[in-house]
């Protein structure tokens, strides 16, 4: 038996969803805990483990990849959920160790199936997440051996085209074990891709100052209590990482443009909006 908890501050969606899921999951031996509005309100998972269905964008407390890290630290497997979140933020949160991502528009039956999959310790690849993986695959190339094979790519495309796991397996002649192998490789490739773009806390602050608040270098350095040289070094490093991760997308972008694009992609401006504007 697994515990299930929803972490979402949009009660209008969560309440009817939970109401529908409680009997459905109970019939399969799972227990639904009361929803929480932020991850700090969630306690540790029980000894048999549990699934935290967590909104990618949370207004209060840790959000995105920070929320995933926090929940995993409490022993939860995380299934990400969102009405709509920027691609970079979703992929970063998935790379942090989430087992899947679904959009809130999905029918309740599909969401229940995704929870079942994650509760069983397996990865869940929705069409929405496959779309994000496929976009990343097209935009950047990992070193040989870490990138998906052409067969993996075709399987991934089947998910993007809306086929279910069973349909994709049948289409490509994959056994359950081989399908799990593909899913592991797809999630690992995303982790490797995001690792190229791993940013320090200080670099994220620079992204917010330059990319969201549009401060000039001098004002940004002053606001962040660092020298202009240090700020420029951070900007150079950020652009270098972005170029390594997405060479095609980064071509011709200035440091400031890169910062802006990355800040929006990681949804760093959303919170800044609330805090500063």
């Amino acid at each position: 038996m697994a515990q299930i908890v929803f972490v979402d501050d949009h009660l209008m969606v969560v309440q009817p969803l939970v109401a529908w899921l409680i009997p459905h999951l109970a019939a399969r031996g799972h227990r639904m805990l009361p929803p929480a509005a932020d991850v700090t309100a969630v306690g540790p998972a029980g000894p048999s483990g549990g699934v935290a269905v967590c909104d990618v964008v949370l207004k209060v407390g840790p959000s995105g990849s920070d929320a995933v890290r926090h929940l995993r630290g409490l022993g939860w497997r995380v299934l990400l959920l969102s009405g709509h979140a920027p691609a970079g933020q979703v992929l970063e949160a998935v790379a942090e160790g989430a087992h899947g991502y679904v959009e809130k528009s999905q029918p309740s039956e599909e969401l229940a199936a995704a929870i079942e999959t994650v509760a069983a310790g397996r990865l869940h690849l929705s069409s929405a997440l496959a779309d994000l993986f496929y976009g990343g695959l097209r935009a950047s190339r990992l070193p040989p051996g870490r990138e998906l094979t052409s067969v993996d790519r075709d399987v991934l495309k089947s998910f993007v085209q809306g086929r279910t796991e069973a349909e994709a397996a049948a289409l490509h002649g994959l056994t359950t074990a081989r399908m799990q192998g593909f899913l592991s490789r797809a999630f690992a490739a995303n982790r490797a891709r995001r690792a190229l773009l791993s940013l320090s806390d200080r670099e994220r602050e620079v992204l917010v100052a330059i990319g969201c608040r549009d401060l000039d270098a001098e004002a940004a350095a002053r606001a962040l209590h660092m020298s202009a040289n240090t700020l420029n070094t951070h900007l150079r490093n950020i652009r270098a990482k972005y170029r390594t991760a997405f060479p095609d997308l980064a071509a011709g972008l200035t440091q400031r443009q890169t910062a802006r694009r990355l800040a929006l992609d990681l949804n760093l401006c959303g919170r800044t909006n609330h805090q500063n504007w």
């Binding site: 209008m12 528009s105 779309d131 085209q161 549009d214």
Partner: protein, 419 residues
């Protein structure tokens, strides 16, 4: 000889050697060429101006041994000077004009011989006084045209020899003055062009420098304007991005939440929940920002997708277009996709999502329309005319078009093409 003396001599030689004036490659105003023309006109004027001196011996017609030779010399000088002037004006330069130098030089030697024979030996020095000005120009021409070279120095010495020989035997102190005159005119022929050519080169270099400075200033101004435009564009893009972010945030926290909540609210009628779900889908497609594409093919796909969402079909678009397919193929594929979407709208069922996928990199195209709706028996179901015709049109362009369906298991239409 001390180093100091050697350097002074080198400086003196350099001051006379106009060949040391550096060339100016960047001279679109023609300053150097204009100067060469002025130098040519100067020597041409001198040549023409010295002809009247040859008329003076004719005033002593009765005292001459051979007055007809004096007349012949004057006429020949007029002809040679005319040729000289015309040639220099036509060529606009005397620099390195070896033909001009050779003809004028030989003519002057001949003039000395012929002119001197017009008078008796004791009168030659006097008669040759009138020949001197014309001959001195030849000495100057050596400097103007050849510069400080061994051949011009040797030419000067030959003029000396020719002059002394033709005056012989009437050698007086005036011979020294004449020979010095040849040297001084040669030096003038070196020094004046040196000054003029150096001045022209400096002026041309200054003009080139000025032009470069103006170009740099213009470039700096253009770069500044570009930077200002870029900064303005950056501000506009940031404003747009922040506007979109606020819109996304507003949709995510407000509209989408309400619509997703309504779509799951059992208290609402199925049609109301369906409409809410469709509106949520439209909002998500809007947030996905696919309308930003610059690809005409992708724009058509988006329009197609939006058309069917407006008709109530839950279309999930997934487009990856990095290059355009051939136009006739794009046309056929869009028509077939329209039919596939229309079939999904009619037969899949009201709450079924339809996944509309397209990927094109120029050499390869793949378009699919997949749903998990009612499906049909492909073997027995009647095929509509529109479907049959549009799918056949795709196949006629060497593309594959495969329809897979089974009752209760949805329908898949897959079109693939490669170059």
């Amino acid at each position: 000889m001390t180093v100091h003396t050697r350097s002074r001599r080198a400086g003196f030689v350099a001051a006379l050697d106009w060949r040391r004036v550096p060339a100016v490659p960047d001279d679109p105003d023609g300053i150097v060429a204009g100067n060469e023309e002025r130098v040519a006109k100067m020597i041409a004027f001198l040549r023409a101006a010295m002809v009247p001196f040859l008329l003076i011996p004719l005033l002593a017609w009765n005292r001459l041994a051979h007055p007809e030779l004096a007349l012949l010399a004057a006429a020949a000088c007029a002809v040679e000077a005319t040729w000289f002037v015309r040639r220099t004006l036509r060529r606009r330069s005397v620099r390195d004009d070896h033909v001009l130098v050779a003809v004028d030089y030989v003519f002057c030697l001949a003039l000395m011989v012929v002119g001197s024979r017009a008078a008796e030996p004791w009168l030659r020095n006097e008669i040759m006084t009138e020949v001197v000005p014309f001959s001195l120009v030849s000495s100057a021409l050596l400097g103007f045209a050849l510069g400080l070279r061994w051949r011009s120095v040797l030419g000067l010495l030959a003029l000396w020899g020719g002059w002394a020989a033709t005056v012989y035997p009437h050698l007086t102190l005036k011979l020294g003055s004449d020979l010095l005159g040849f040297v001084m005119w040669f030096l003038v022929g070196l020094y004046v062009p040196r000054l003029m050519r150096e001045l022209a080169a400096r002026t041309a270099r200054a003009a080139a420098k000025q032009r470069a400075a103006e170009r740099d200033a213009a470039r700096a101004t253009a770069e500044q304007h570009a930077a200002e435009r870029d900064a303005a564009e950056q501000r506009r893009l940031l404003d747009l991005a922040l506007h979109r972010e606020r819109m996304r945030s507003g949709l995510h926290d407000g509209v989408l939440t309400v619509l997703d909540g309504m779509a799951r609210d059992d208290r609402l009628a199925p049609e109301g929940r369906r409409s809410a779900r469709r509106a949520a889908l439209m909002a998500r497609n809007l947030l996905r920002g696919t309308a930003d594409t610059g690809s005409p093919f992708e724009k058509r796909l988006i329009e197609l997708s939006e058309t069917f969402v407006d008709l109530g079909v839950l279309v999930q678009p997934r487009f990856y277009v990095s290059a355009e397919p051939p136009p006739e193929l794009a046309e056929a594929v869009c028509a077939a996709a329209r039919e596939a979407l229309a079939n999904a709208a009619k037969y899949a069922g009201p709450d079924v999502e339809v996944h509309f996928f397209a990927e094109c990199d120029g050499d390869r195209l793949e378009v699919s329309v997949v749903d998990h709706g009612a499906g049909f028996d492909a073997a027995t179901a009647p095929r509509g005319r529109g479907t049959a015709e549009t799918f056949a049109a795709v196949r006629a362009l060497d593309a594959a078009c495969e329809v897979t369906s089974a009752p209760g298991r949805g329908t898949s239409v897959l079109m693939t093409w490669s170059r």
